[in-house]
């Protein structure tokens, strides 16, 4: 079993700002999906969502302000899972609610130091 990182990307600009009920329904979808992975004992770390604010540090102490949320695919969050292969990890990613919101999941195997 190896660890895999799920990186969730979506277009923040296109995200609907819904009612509290819609927000709750969205949270439920995430919770049901993540717990489904946990129920298979394949969740390593639920991870977190990321705020839209941020900064990027470049060489020569050049700091550019975020957010980079105007771009179509900005990182909105991450989760760490456990799987025996990339195929299995990809299978786990199916059902991620971000797919229904026009987003995508990047699946990357962790290469331990």
């Amino acid at each position: 079993m190896n660890d895999f990182l799920f990186i969730f990307r979506t277009d923040y600009g296109a995200m609907p700002t819904g009612t509290p009920e819609e927000a709750q329904a969205a949270t439920k979808k995430w919770m049901d999906w993540v717990a489904g992975i946990a129920a298979q004992n394949k969740l390593v770390d639920r991870g977190n969502r990321l705020k839209t604010t941020g900064a990027v540090l470049r060489p020569n102490n050049i700091i550019t302000n975020g957010p980079y949320t105007e771009i179509k695919e900005s990182i909105g969050g991450y989760t760490m899972v456990r799987a025996s292969s990339l195929e299995e990890a990809t299978e786990l990613a199916k059902g991620c609610p971000i797919l229904q919101m026009g987003g995508n999941v990047e699946i990357r195997e962790v290469n331990p130091l």
Partner: protein, 432 residues
């Protein structure tokens, strides 16, 4: 609630004037009762006094005290205050032991502060010292260095005053196995030089984790035991609750997670009478007679749950107490199952267990849909677990009865106890 849960005051046992001539029958019931309530107190106090390396001497003196009681009381009749009599005899026996074993006394005297002679060894059987000694013993026995199974056995023996026969009965094993297990555990306590003391304030939270795990398992042992002895199983639950309450009564350990565990135990215990029919067969939750649920325990569970709802962190006991709370409401509402599902979702992210995964999938079928739950259940692949196939059987019921039956058949092949097989067979019969 069992009268023993809150302090088991010996006052109730003191003879009232004119009632001192107990009949033989009463005496026969009184001694086992006193054994259950007083043996553990005497043992804890003596262990604390002598140190963990002399745990057997403490046990022997306590056992010997009861032997004297049986002999003397059947001959002379009951004393006016049986508990006080036991304490006085235990004190004398402890002193006699010390005066006859000079080497032992010197060793013990070296440990007991400011005690230099036998006469000065004081056996303090005050209520305060009994409670302190029991709490300190609880922390000593539930030490991370001791294997969990041994912790439970030792707790039952030293802190709950269970006989070896009873412990063997609870674990469905023989006396010899239990004796060996207890012997090894005591050796370990000695070898690790585990002190009988209250952990320092900074270490309480960490040490409590092990204590609570043991109390949780002790309760589960009683609640889910495969033993047919209902009285014994109930006693196990009551003892786990009594020890948990001991922690709540102490200011330093009256913490949210302890109250959450207590709440969880109360909610579960409320269904004790309803879980089994007169034939000793398990009654499934949705078939239980609500009238048999103990509403006092539900009220108390709610009280402790509110007490637990302080502080910033949520323990697995909080989540499980929440799930247990929803189960005290019989009506099958959308809100109930959605709440249970989200609590299981949280629990699984905190700590995986196959049973939580299965229960979560059942809640998913009630909150979302059977189809969704079947898809999720098929992913679990807990193929050596009969509950897994029972769940699949239940989910396929009414959707594909042949598949339901096949799954129940697989469950039947894996189930080990008579009760489980009977329950599964009933499901198969209902499908035909």
């Amino acid at each position: 609630m069992h009268k023993d849960l809150y302090g088991n005051g010996p006052a109730a046992l003191v003879c009232k004037p004119g009632h001192c001539l107990f009949s033989l029958m009463e005496q026969q019931e009184l001694i086992p009762h006193l054994f259950r309530t007083e043996f553990r107190k005497i043992t804890a106090v003596l262990c604390k006094l002598f140190g963990m390396e002399h745990i057997e001497i403490a046990e022997d003196i306590a056992s010997d005290t009861f032997l004297s009681a049986v002999e003397t009381w059947s001959f002379k009749g009951l004393p006016a205050n049986p508990t006080a009599w036991l304490y006085a005899v235990a004190k004398n026996k402890a002193k006699n032991y010390c005066s006859h074993h000079a080497v032992f006394t010197q060793k013990v005297a070296g440990q007991v502060q400011a005690v230099t002679t036998v006469e000065e060894i004081q056996v303090d059987l005050s209520e305060e010292n009994i409670t302190d000694s029991q709490l300190q013993m609880l922390f000593a026995i539930c030490h991370p260095a001791i294997a969990v199974e041994a912790q439970i056995g030792l707790s039952l023996r030293i802190l709950c005053g269970f006989g070896i026969d009873e412990i063997a009965g609870a674990f469905l094993t023989n006396k010899e196995t239990i004796n060996k297990r207890l012997f090894r555990a005591k050796e370990k306590l000695r070898a690790e030089r585990i002190p009988i003391e209250f952990p320092p304030p900074a270490a309480i939270n960490k040490r409590l984790e092990t204590v609570l795990t043991t109390l949780y398992l002790l309760f589960s042992e009683g609640y889910y035991s495969e033993s047919q002895d209902t009285v014994l199983r109930k006693d196990l639950c009551i003892e786990a609750m009594r020890l948990t309450y001991l922690l709540i009564e102490n200011g330093q350990t009256n913490l949210p997670q302890v109250n959450a565990l207590m709440s969880l135990m109360c909610f579960h215990a409320s269904r004790f009478e309803a879980r089994m029919n007169k034939q000793g067969e398990a009654v499934l939750y949705h078939e239980q007679d609500e009238q048999l649920w103990n509403h006092d325990l539900i009220t108390q569970g709610t009280y402790f749950f509110n007490q637990a709802s302080t502080g910033a962190s949520i323990s697995k006991y909080h989540i499980e107490a929440g799930i247990a709370y929803w189960h005290t409401i019989k009506a099958d509402t959308k809100e109930k199952w959605e709440s249970i599902l989200q609590l299981y979702n949280q629990l699984l992210q905190l700590e995986y267990s196959p049973i939580a995964a299965l229960n979560r999938t059942y809640a998913l079928s009630k909150a979302n849909s059977k189809q969704e739950a079947i898809a999720e259940a098929e992913k679990l692949q807990l193929t050596d677990n009969h509950f897994y196939y029972t769940l699949l059987g239940e989910l396929y019921k009414g959707i594909d009865n042949q598949k339901a039956k096949n799954n129940y058949q697989k469950a039947l092949g894996l189930a080990k106890t008579r009760t489980d097989r009977h329950t599964i067979q009933k499901q198969i019969d209902q499908l035909v």
